[in-house]
C-alpha cells in the first residue's frame, strides 16, 4: 500500500500543509511518495525530501505545470495513480480544484476534507458545515482523498528521501493562465498560524482592522475575518474563516466583533482556546468561547494591546 501525496507549493517554497498531509498519509499506507508538480521547483523537491516518513519524491518539472491548472495536473496525477492505493492532496483551493477531476478520470468517488483516518478504507469527514461528523467507508480500488490539514500534526523534517524525475508532459489547450493577484502579508499564513485574531462586522470598517494588526504583530498572529467583514469590503476574501473560507485550528483564536454564525464556527471551532470579544452578551460565539469578554471592542482592543 503506497500513498501518493500531492505537494502544496508555490514553485519556490513547500507549504506547511504538505508536512501534515504526510502524517495523514502515513496512517493510510506504509510507503509515502510525494509528487511535486510545477515549474523550476527543484527547491520544493528538496524540501519535500526532508519530511520524515517520505520514501520517494517525484518531480514533474515543466513549464506547463507552472500554475498547476486543473486540466493538465489532473491528467498527470491520473497517469500515475495506477501504482498507488491512495492519492492524497490538501483541501486547499489547489487540491479542491484538481482532485475531483482525478477521481472522475479514475471512475472513483472522492472523499473531501478528511479529518481522521480510521483505517486504510475508512475515513471521517465533517458534513453540514461541521454540525455532523460522518464516517465513510470507500470500496474504490484507489482512494482519492483531500485532507483537512489543520486536523493533523506536521511530520518532522530530518529525512533525505530519494528524488526522481517524472517526464510525462500533459499540455493543456483548453485553459490558459492570465494573471494572479496575490495578497501580500508579512504575518503567518492563516492556516498555519498558532494564533489568529479575527474581526467581523462589528469592526465597522476596513481601517479599524489596523487595531487587530498591531495586536497580531505583538502576538506573532495571523489576521482573519468573518464573511460579513469580507462582504462589507473591509478586507480581502482570502482572509475569510468559515465553511466557505479557510478552516483553521490554531492554539488561540480571538474573535472580535463576530456574532458566531454556524458558517463561521465551521471554520474555527476546533481551535484549542477561543476568546470572544463582543458587546452583545447573547451572541452565539459565547457558547463556544473558552473566555468571553462582553465589551465594546473599540475600548477593549487598545487595552488588550497595551496589556500584552
Amino acid at each position: 500500500m503506497t500513498v501518493l501525496v500531492y505537494a502544496e507549493h508555490n514553485n519556490h517554497e513547500l507549504k506547511a500543509e504538505t508536512h501534515k498531509l504526510v502524517n495523514a498519509a502515513a496512517k493510510m499506507g506504509d510507503d509515502v511518495h510525494v509528487l511535486v508538480a510545477g515549474s523550476n521547483c527543484a527547491d520544493v523537491a528538496t524540501q519535500a525530501s526532508q519530511i520524515e516518513g517520505v520514501t520517494q519524491v517525484l518531480v514533474a518539472d515543466n513549464a506547463v505545470y507552472e500554475h498547476q491548472l486543473a486540466e493538465n495536473i489532473a491528467e498527470l496525477v491520473h497517469s500515475m495513480a495506477g501504482d498507488y492505493s491512495h492519492v492524497v492532496a490538501a483541501a486547499t483551493t489547489t487540491g479542491k480544484n484538481f482532485m475531483p477531476r482525478v477521481a472522475a478520470l479514475l471512475d472513483v468517488v472522492q472523499l473531501s476534507d478528511v479529518i481522521a483516518v480510521e483505517s486504510a478504507d475508512t475515513f471521517v469527514r465533517p458534513i453540514y458545515a461541521g454540525n455532523a461528523i460522518a464516517t465513510v467507508q470507500s470500496s474504490d480500488a484507489i482512494k482519492v482523498i483531500t485532507v483537512r490539514a489543520s486536523a493533523f500534526d506536521a511530520a518532522a523534517t530530518s529525512n533525505s528521501a530519494p528524488i526522481s524525475a517524472v517526464d510525462s508532459v500533459f499540455a493543456n489547450n483548453l485553459s490558459e493562465f492570465v494573471s494572479e493577484e496575490v495578497t501580500k502579508s508579512d504575518r503567518p499564513e492563516l492556516t498555519a498560524a498558532n494564533i489568529i485574531i479575527s474581526g467581523g462586522r462589528g469592526m465597522q470598517d476596513g481601517e479599524h482592522f489596523a487595531m487587530l494588526e498591531t495586536i497580531a504583530d505583538k502576538l506573532g498572529a495571523a489576521v482573519g475575518a468573518s464573511r460579513a467583514a469580507v462582504d462589507a469590503g473591509f478586507v480581502p476574501n482570502d482572509m475569510q474563516v468559515g465553511q466557505t473560507g479557510k478552516i483553521v485550528a490554531p492554539q488561540l483564536y480571538i474573535a472580535v466583533g463576530i456574532s458566531g454564525a454556524i458558517q463561521h464556527l465551521a471554520g474555527m471551532k476546533d481551535s484549542k482556546v477561543i476568546v470572544a470579544i463582543n458587546k452583545d452578551p447573547e451572541a452565539p460565539i459565547f457558547q463556544v468561547a473558552d473566555y468571553g469578554l462582553v465589551a465594546d471592542l473599540f475600548e477593549a482592543l487598545p487595552e488588550l494591546e497595551a496589556g500584552l
Binding site: N10, A70, E71, T92, T93, K96, N97, F98, M99, P100, R101, V102, A103, A104, L105, V109, Q110, S112, T122, I127, Y128, A129, N131, A132, I133, T135, V136, Q137, S138, S139, D140, L174, F177, V178, S179, E180, E181, V182, I195, R227, V230, D231, P236, N237, D238, Q243, Q251, L252, I262, K272, V275, F286, V288, Y291, G292, L293, V294, A295, L304, L308
Partner: protein, 249 residues
C-alpha cells in the same frame, strides 16, 4: 448561447441540523429545504448573462427526489427558461450526479455550464470538477467574476493566496463562489409565470446511466461539544487567564 445551470435541493442554511439518535444519518424530516446558496448564485449569473444578451436560453437541471421540482420552479421564477429534473434518490454520490449531468450536457450541448462550488449539506466541492472531467471541458472553480467573449470565458477565481484569472475555451464549466453576485428575489408575478414554464422529468435509466455505490456511510455523529467557558470581567483578567491559565500567549 445556451447556458446550463444546476441546482440542488438542500436543507435551508439557517437550520440547525440534528443527528438522528441512532447515529445513522442527519434527521431531515419536517426540516425546511431550499435551493443551495451557491446554486442561487449560479442561477443569478446565468440570468445576468441573458440580460446582457449573451445567453439566449437558460436550462436549469436538478438531480434528486420529485420534491426538487420546487427548487427548479424557484430557478424558473428567477429567470431560467426551462427545467429538467433527473429523478433519482439512490446513490446520489457526486460521481453519480456528475455522470447523470454529463448525459444531460451531451443532449443539451450548452456553451457554458454554471454550478455552485459546493452544496452545504455534503460539503463535497466535487461535482463541477467531475462533470468537467467527464465532458473533457475546461473548468474554472470558485469564480468571483465571469466575462464571456466570442469563444472563451475569462474567470477570476478566489484562491488561497488571493485571486487568479484564467481564460477558458467554450464549452466550459464554471463553479460559483459567494462573491460572484448577489442573487435576486423572485417576484410574485414571476413565481406565477414560472408555474407555466416547461419542466421535464427523466430517470437515470432513460439517460442510460447505471448508478453504483462507491462508498458506504457507516455512521453520523454530532461533533464533540466544547465545554462551557467563562466570562471575564476585564481585559486585564483576560490577558492574565491567557497567560497563566490557558498558557497560550
Amino acid at each position: 448561447m445556451k447556458v446550463l445551470v444546476t441546482v440542488k435541493r438542500v436543507i435551508d442554511y439557517n437550520v440547525k441540523i440534528r443527528v438522528k439518535p441512532d447515529g445513522s444519518d442527519v434527521d431531515l424530516t419536517n426540516v425546511k429545504m431550499a435551493v443551495n446558496p451557491f446554486c442561487e448564485i449560479a442561477v443569478e449569473e446565468a440570468v445576468r448573462l441573458k440580460e446582457k444578451g449573451i445567453a439566449s436560453e437558460i436550462v436549469v437541471v436538478s438531480v434528486g427526489a420529485s420534491e426538487a421540482q420546487e427548487q427548479l420552479r424557484t430557478a424558473l421564477a428567477l429567470g431560467a427558461d426551462r427545467a429538467i429534473l433527473v429523478e433519482s434518490t439512490a446513490n446520489t454520490e457526486s460521481l453519480n450526479v456528475a455522470k447523470l449531468l454529463a448525459k444531460v450536457v451531451e443532449q443539451e450541448q450548452p456553451s457554458l455550464v454554471i454550478m455552485g462550488k459546493q452544496a452545504i449539506d455534503s460539503d463535497n466541492n466535487q461535482t463541477g470538477q467531475m462533470l468537467a472531467a467527464l465532458c473533457d471541458m475546461p473548468q474554472a472553480t470558485f469564480a468571483s467574476e465571469v466575462s464571456v467573449a466570442d469563444n472563451s470565458v475569462t474567470v477570476t477565481r478566489e484562491i488561497d493566496g488571493g485571486l487568479q484569472t484564467l481564460s477558458l475555451q467554450l464549452p466550459a464549466i464554471v463553479t460559483t463562489d459567494l462573491r460572484l453576485n448577489e442573487p435576486r428575489y423572485a417576484s410574485l408575478p414571476n413565481i406565477m409565470k414560472a408555474k407555466r414554464k416547461p419542466l421535464a422529468t427523466v430517470t437515470p435509466d432513460e439517460l442510460g446511466v447505471t448508478l453504483s455505490a462507491h462508498t458506504q456511510l457507516l455512521g453520523v455523529n454530532p461533533p464533540s461539544q466544547r465545554s462551557a467557558g467563562v466570562k471575564v470581567k476585564s481585559v486585564a483578567e483576560l490577558v492574565d487567564k491567557l497567560k497563566n491559565e490557558a498558557k497560550v500567549i
